[in-house]
């Protein structure tokens, strides 16, 4: 078993992002229990 805490998932997990109401969500909460495709977009538009 490899320790991936220094990988991109580990770096991103503690960071806060905002939902459409402006509420803060910890990014890693999205993939805690199951896999996600995380798509970074350049801009909304």
């Amino acid at each position: 078993m490899h320790d991936m805490s220094n990988g991109v998932a580990g770096r991103l997990a503690p960071l806060p992002v905002l939902d459409e109401r402006g509420a803060s969500i910890t990014l890693g909460s999205f993939w805690e229990a199951g896999p996600v495709v995380l798509g970074f977009v350049r801009h909304f538009g």
Partner: protein, 134 residues
């Protein structure tokens, strides 16, 4: 977003999800959802901290790269029209398949605007076998 939107039901059937993260203001999310019809989670990071942590490219040369201009022309010819840009146009995007936990299944960092991974590669990271083209 169109590719992720199309693949969303298949990904959810496998117990996964698609999370789209932009860099505009939270109030821009609603109009983006309405314009794209994307129904999955949409969040934003105006600080760009997560973009930097993901190692994504940044700079004018990446946005106005010759290959991104060519891709833009092709998209225009096929009918795509760019809407109002809300965010940071010189910030490049990327695609990751992560989890559960610290598992990293797939990493892609756009080298220039419009440089996206093949959806079949993204789905393969989730264990979906894409049908062969005839």
């Amino acid at each position: 977003v169109a590719g992720w939107k199309a693949a969303l039901p298949q990904i959810r059937a496998l117990g996964g999800d698609v999370v789209v993260i932009g860099c505009g203001l939270p109030e821009h999310i609603k109009s983006f959802r309405e314009a794209t019809g994307y129904e999955g989670p949409l969040v934003t990071d105006p600080t760009l901290g997560s973009f930097r942590a993901a190692g994504l490219a940044y700079g004018l040369g990446r946005t106005f790269h010759p290959r991104s201009i060519l891709k833009g022309l092709r998209a225009f010819v096929s009918g795509f029209r760019q809407g109002a840009r809300r965010g940071n146009p010189v910030q490049q995007g990327g695609t990751f398949v992560l989890g559960p936990g610290a598992r990293v299944r797939f990493e892609w960092r756009d080298r220039f605007a419009g440089d996206h991974p093949e959806m079949r590669d993204v789905l393969a990271a989730l264990g979906v076998q894409a049908p062969r083209r005839p």
